[in-house]
């Protein structure tokens, strides 16, 4: 049986904030300023996230730091950045988990920089739209006389995992092909192509396979797995891409 005891004194429960050095990469391409690092001393508790540290800097030390964020709970996909060299969500990464007294934050790679830590998602969104991220079929559930499209739990399981994508762009930032190929669709778009292709309500498989069957499409993925390594939602784009390729290679129908 679990025992819960009251702390003996207030001293034991008080955690003294320690201090870390937060290095923020600064740049403003619209003014062609050189990339530099600004360093700030930030007090942290064990639950302080990287985003909270950046917001502390904005509030108290330098309000000009450029950062994009919204939900603060890994749902909106706005605060993706490189933290100590790896792409991660700032709101989802605790400073105490990093285990270093110096934390470096940089804008995500493979995306144009707007300013400082904020990057442009134009290519990510346009590639996402290219693969027709919606159910393709002639009829609709709201058409009079049409019955509800029945879907069993096992049908749902085939794509549910991939529908958790929040379009944060971390997978595209980690992908080695995205690092060199400017026209590559990217793991985000390819995983979403599988999400809709695997949906048994969808009838747009052939259309979607034609889009991804391109020299800058699915064949450029070499299964390095870095996308799945950094995905904060467990979407596993690497698996989705390999399963999607199974359709083109005749392993799946």
């Amino acid at each position: 049986m679990a025992t819960v005891s009251v702390p003996k004194s207030s001293e034991e429960t008080t955690t003294q904030p320690s201090t870390i050095t937060l290095r923020i990469k600064r740049s403003n391409p619209s003014e062609s300023t050189e990339k530099t690092f600004s360093e700030f001393q930030v007090p942290v508790q064990k639950w302080t996230t990287v985003l909270e540290a950046i917001l502390y800097v904005k509030q108290n030390l330098d309000h000009s730091v450029g950062v994009r964020y919204s939900c603060r709970q890994a749902s909106c996909g706005s605060c993706g950045m490189k933290i100590n060299g790896k792409p991660a969500l700032a709101c989802y990464t605790k400073l105490s988990e990093l285990g270093t007294s110096i934390v470096t934050v940089e804008p995500m790679n493979n995306f144009p920089i707007i300013r400082d830590l904020a990057v442009n998602f134009e290519q990510l969104i346009s590639n996402h739209k290219k693969i027709k991220p919606f159910i393709v079929r002639e009829d609709s559930e709201i058409t009079p006389g049409t019955k509800e499209f029945i879907q069993k739990p096992e049908d749902l399981e085939k794509f549910l995992q991939f529908s958790y994508c929040i379009k944060c762009g971390l997978c595209n930032s980690a992908c080695p092909t995205m690092a060199t190929d400017t026209s590559f669709l990217g793991p985000q778009a390819l995983a979403q192509a599988f999400r809709y292709t695997a949906d048994n309500r969808d009838q747009g498989k052939d259309e979607r396979l034609k889009i991804v069957d391109d020299s800058h499409g699915i064949w450029r993925c070499h299964f390095a797995g870095s996308c799945s390594h950094v995905c904060p939602k467990g979407v596993d784009p690497a698996m989705a891409i390999q399963l999607l390729r199974g359709y083109l290679l005749g392993f799946r129908k």
């Binding site: 493979n110 080695p176 070499h222 390095a224 799945s228 390594h229």
Partner: protein, 144 residues
């Protein structure tokens, strides 16, 4: 300028194997060994083509490979060949969706099913086989 603004990592980022686990190391080794084998193929064609210049030219070219440096290069070629084959089979099967896991409800802390122990085991086995083949090849070449 445009490339600088796009903040792409480029070849330097693509070739950095240190940040994303053993799968990225395998990706890097696969590329490296592929390029190495391509270089070996070109060198091999150049070497064997010297036979058309007569016996003296052929013997001279062959003597180059019978040195310690030549044996070391051949040992590396054996390693590249074995790793590229072993890991290549893993990647090809993976490309067809074999051994990459099944879609399911992701549970925190979200371990990717495609980066499973079977994949990692295949990578380590490929590395181990390459090392063994290199040791065997080196002993044979040096024992000549």
């Amino acid at each position: 300028m445009a490339e600088r603004l796009s903040n792409r990592e480029g070849i330097k980022g693509m070739a950095n194997p240190t940040r994303y686990g053993i799968e990225r190391v395998a990706y890097w080794l696969q590329r490296l060994s592929g390029l190495g084998l391509l270089a070996y193929l070109i060198g091999h064609i150049y070497e064997t083509s010297s036979i058309v210049n007569g016996k003296i030219a052929w013997d001279k070219m062959l003597a180059l490979t019978q040195t310690t440096e030549g044996h070391l290069i051949l040992t590396i070629v054996i390693g590249m060949c074995v790793f590229h084959t072993g890991n290549g089979i893993r990647v090809m099967l993976g490309h067809g969706g074999v051994g990459v896991g099944r879609p399911g409800q992701p549970e925190y802390p979200y371990k990717a099913a495609s980066l499973n122990y079977k994949q990692r085991l295949c990578i380590w086995v490929s590395i181990a086989l390459a090392a063994l083949a290199m040791m065997y090849g080196y002993s044979i070449l040096m024992g000549e």
